[in-house]
């Protein structure tokens, strides 16, 4: 009888474990690990080995936007940013940089993802090209050329909110080929089970480089899909509204950008849908309208960005 009660008890525990663990592939590993590692001697080799193959097959249908941990997203973002800065140099203007960070970090607080592993940080690139980039994890880059499309703080907020939208929607991670994620999880998971130390570093570094290249070629050369761009615009409108900026800032900025873009240039003209298309798509959410900003806001915008 004691055995039956004990059996019933452990059965309930197991059932609970399964019920609790069915939302994500990682939890399969945890349940299996818990079972395998519980007794003396561990059994981690056999059960753990199975756990990894379970994760591998699950990862075949999963993707980088879910599978890389926030910390890995952060390291990918740093190297994407560092790579962008090999092409575009940072503008050395502490006042302008501080101001763009104040506007950007205030907006990020009102996104659906106000906190990321390393936080949101903004940098001005010293270039007349019209461009802006959002690296994974919250590093956001904007050129002087793009700032010139902004008539005021509200328009600047619209540009930054669009980039925060790309971070929140994890669009850069979507540019990573699926096979890389499967391979990475294989290396990471495999190593954990074998308790091996170090030996896989060159493989991981090479894979890391491939991920950076996937993102860079999408971000700099090919652009995201129109769908992802419109989604980032919609997210931007939500963020602008919540924060208290006029969402009309987005179509107003796009109108100014339309006038400045040079057809065929290797910047926003190449990687984004035409501003007119974006304005049309936004019509239900935000329309071009006159934006009146109070004197204090007009003054601080001019003080910070008037001479760049």
């Amino acid at each position: 009888m004691k055995r039956r009660i004990l059996g019933l008890f452990s059965g309930m525990l197991l059932l609970f474990g399964i019920l609790a663990g069915c939302n994500d592939p990682g939890s399969i590993t945890r349940v299996l690990d818990a079972l395998g590692g519980g007794g003396p001697g561990g059994g981690a080799g056999t059960v753990g080995g199975y756990a990894v193959s379970a994760v591998k097959s699950a990862s075949a249908i999963a993707h980088a936007s879910e599978d890389f941990t926030p910390e890995q997203e952060y390291y990918i973002g740093r190297s994407v940013g560092a790579g962008l800065l090999a092409k575009y140099h940072p503008l050395n203007d502490p006042k302008a940089t501080a101001y763009v960070n104040e506007v950007g970090q205030a907006l990020a607080m009102f996104s659906d993802m106000p906190q990321t592993y390393g936080g949101y940080h903004f940098l001005i690139m010293d270039s007349e090209d019209i461009n802006a980039f959002a690296a994974p994890g919250g590093l956001i880059f904007i050129t002087r050329g793009m700032l010139h499309c902004c008539a005021g703080e509200n328009a600047l907020a619209a540009v930054l909110a669009h980039e925060i939208g790309h971070v929140q929607n994890k669009d850069a991670l979507r540019a990573i080929k699926r096979s890389r994620v499967t391979e990475a999880l294989g290396i990471i998971g495999g190593e954990a089970v074998k308790h091996a130390s170090g030996g896989r570093l060159p493989q991981l570094t090479s894979l890391f480089g491939d991920c950076i290249n996937d993102i860079m070629s999408t971000m700099v050369n090919n652009g995201y899909s129109r769908e992802l761009e419109f989604q980032a615009d919609k997210t931007a409108v939500t963020i602008l509204r919540r924060c208290g900026y006029d969402p009309a800032g987005l179509p107003v900025m796009l109108t100014a950008m339309q006038k400045r873009l040079r057809p065929g240039a290797a910047d926003f003209a190449k990687t984004h849908p035409a501003p007119a298309d974006r304005i049309a798509q936004l019509a239900g959410l935000a329309r071009v309208a006159e934006i009146t900003e109070p004197p204090a806001r007009v003054t601080r915008f001019k003080d910070a960005l008037g001479n760049i």
Binding site: D24, T69, E102, F110, Q115, A184
Partner: protein, 160 residues
């Protein structure tokens, strides 16, 4: 051997209690600096800090905020975006390794980590010094809300 029915029912009830207690929600910190605040607001005083990958028990939810209890016994509020229900591998330098198993430690730093970045940097051009400077520019929420107010911007909702 026979056990009286009431005793069996009591035993089952106790089992069920155990299972329910186990069901208390545990989440993991997914940001480097997990700020724990006195009140469910970005303006709440910071009463503690949880490290990346550390587990916390959720006591209650209020909008986008979770009241959590830290392993040391401290309680406070963390924003939804700082937490995940996924288990995270410990970073090599996080120092939060006190209560993790050998297996979790083996995962530490085995993904794309500072070590992988250092190895990658040896073969690739990139201005990492500028990225480090960029990451140092951080404003606290109270300063940012004051900045918005100074510009006549009135937040309409969202994370506060």
């Amino acid at each position: 051997m026979r056990i009286a029915k009431p005793a069996l029912l009591l035993g089952l009830a106790l089992c069920l209690c155990g299972v329910l207690a186990l069901a208390a929600k545990v989440m993991n910190v997914q940001v480097r600096d997990g700020q724990v605040r006195a009140t469910p607001s970005f303006l709440g005083t910071i009463v503690g800090r949880a490290q990346y990958a550390q587990s916390v028990s959720v006591l209650q939810e209020q909008g986008d905020w979770f009241q959590v209890s830290l392993p040391g016994g401290a309680t406070g509020w963390m924003h939804r975006s700082a937490l995940t229900d996924k288990k995270l591998a410990m970073t090599s330098g996080s120092g939060a390794a006190a209560d993790v198993s050998g297996k979790e430690m083996a995962l530490a730093g085995k993904g794309f980590s500072a070590q992988v970045e250092a190895d990658y940097r040896r073969g690739h051009a990139g201005d990492y010094a500028a990225i480090d400077r960029m990451e140092r520019i951080t404003y606290d929420p109270a300063t940012l809300l004051a900045f918005l107010a100074q510009g006549g911007i009135k937040p309409q909702g969202g994370a506060r």
